[in-house]
Symmetry: C2
Subunit: 312 residues, 2 copies
């Protein structure tokens, strides 16, 4: 299953973190934007091409020390069709460099339609007998509000194409509790009920290191819930957003890991993309600043973890 | 607010139904596919262009008798960047013909990222001072699992650009109850709690006909819950999927309407797109068959409704 490959990348780099590529144009250095606007005018095409330049330069600098990227679909859709083209090219470029790519799309729908999303992002599309990958990520974030028949088509693709999914369980944002923390009549919370479904769904796609192809999103901003879910969901790998800019710290995120330093991967987006702004270095040094931040973040997270090892 | 325009379209056509354009290539007549493959080979481009030809022909035939279309993003993403281009062109084409366009994307994320989705689908993107619409639909379906800060950016766009959203409340699929029907400690169900949030969110974007810019998705396959929600959510306009192919009938969907025949719009996708297959007519007659099905469906739904009138 796909998380086996992710886990191997993590062990090889000794780095349980993922860089979120959520590139608003305002994060991109001026010299890149100006070059593209000179050529294409103030257009979505210029913006999308500037973002692709930015992404590639960051990937070039981090692929040897970072196991994965997580492009967030919203920031590409914002630049229209040209933006979506940049998403597709970013996925391909990172994979060619050996990185594991999780498209953060939080897709969800009823079965027949989820089949189309699963095909789009994890599978291959049939065009009169030709099989073509539309986006071809290694994993996709999804929302389980619709229940099993919205998840089943994804599980099928995970099994057939060695892919994974991350289901939203407890999200990192402030108002996540409005629905997710509601108490059920059986004593569980809504997020715990969703977590239980992840364990159930994952049983059909077991992985060789103990974690199934069905992961969960649990926010760094809620360390108690992270600890609770780690204990309750032993076969579910966690994607942990909310570190850094959103307020989650290294000690808190350590609650998402198991005793081998596995079981979770921590995301940082703005912290890495905008490292050059925070450092105050020359904007032309943005990619190296991103690399420095990846190393700083990795060392910060590892402070609270054992050496990361594969199970025997 | 945007649902005012939708409501006026419904009254003008006396038709409370929307055509879902979820065009798998297998729904498209052979003569269209062959023409495009002759030109572009067996490629995603050929598939996407065939689908655009198909969509435009259907829109040409139904725009005078149908208030809205609902393109489902998954079926376009499935054909990659070229498919997404067809989505953008379909939205524009239908709007030019006077139709209200709801992009069915079920998007969801934390606030900062939802802002990007809201910009992508309902707002305009800033490119160094130029304001450009990326997709520019009139409404977007969304998933409220993340709570208020995932919805707030949408409300802002609804107010600024005269748009609307539909939040998933009780979906039409068989397993929707796994999470949505769970009983809360306070006696409500999860879907009812989500419905209550829709009323709350909608208060910031009231509409002149009594319905706010925050609608809800409630499936035709659950008429009892449709009746329950209609009563509980007096300011929330319903998008009702599940009629026809999924098993929902006209009497059931009537539970979603108010005493003026307003308050809901019923979706049919396959029923209309594949009407030519069901009729067994010449495939070149597919668009006229779609028109005949739109009329049949409208008459079926109206059997159980009063004459549709605007409130005084």
């Amino acid at each position: 299953m796909a998380f086996d490959r992710l886990i191997e990348n993590i062990v090889n780099t000794q780095n349980p973190s993922v860089v979120g590529l959520d590139p608003k144009l305002e994060y991109v250095p001026q010299f890149i934007i100006e070059k593209r606007i000179d050529k294409h005018g103030k257009t979505l095409k210029a913006a999308a091409k500037a973002i692709l330049d930015f992404n590639k330069a960051i990937i070039d600098e981090i692929h040897d020390i970072c196991p994965a990227i997580k492009p967030q679909a919203a920031y590409y859709e914002m630049y229209g069709v040209e933006g979506v083209k940049t998403l597709a090219k970013t996925i391909k470029y990172a994979q060619e460099k050996g990185m594991f790519v999780m498209t953060d799309g939080k897709r969800n729908d009823i079965g027949a339609t989820m089949e189309a999303y699963a095909t789009a992002h994890l599978g291959v599309t049939d065009v009169v007998g030709e099989q073509i990958a539309a986006f071809g990520a290694d994993a996709l974030t999804v929302n389980g509000y619709l229940g099993t028949d919205g998840i089943k088509p994804l599980i099928d693709k995970c099994a057939a194409f060695d892919k994974g999914i991350f289901v939203l369980v407890k999200t990192s944002n402030q108002s996540s509790g409005e629905l997710q923390d509601l108490k059920l009549a059986d004593g569980r919370t809504v997020y715990a009920a969703m977590g239980d479904m992840c364990e159930k769904w994952g049983a059909d796609v077991p992985g060789k290191y103990g974690y199934s192809g069905v992961g969960a999103v649990v926010g760094a901003t809620y360390p108690e819930q992270l600890a609770e879910m780690r204990k309750a969901l032993p076969h579910t790998f966690f994607l942990v957003p909310g570190y850094g800019a959103q307020g989650g710290g290294a000690e808190g995120v350590s609650k998402g890991f198991d005793e081998r330093g596995l079981g979770a991967i921590v995301n940082s987006s703005r912290g890495v993309m905008c490292a050059y702004k925070k450092e105050g270095c020359d904007e032309r040094d943005f990619a190296k600043a991103a690399r420095r931040e990846v190393i700083r973040m990795k060392e910060d997270i590892l402070t609270y973890l054992p050496k990361i090892v594969l199970p025997e």
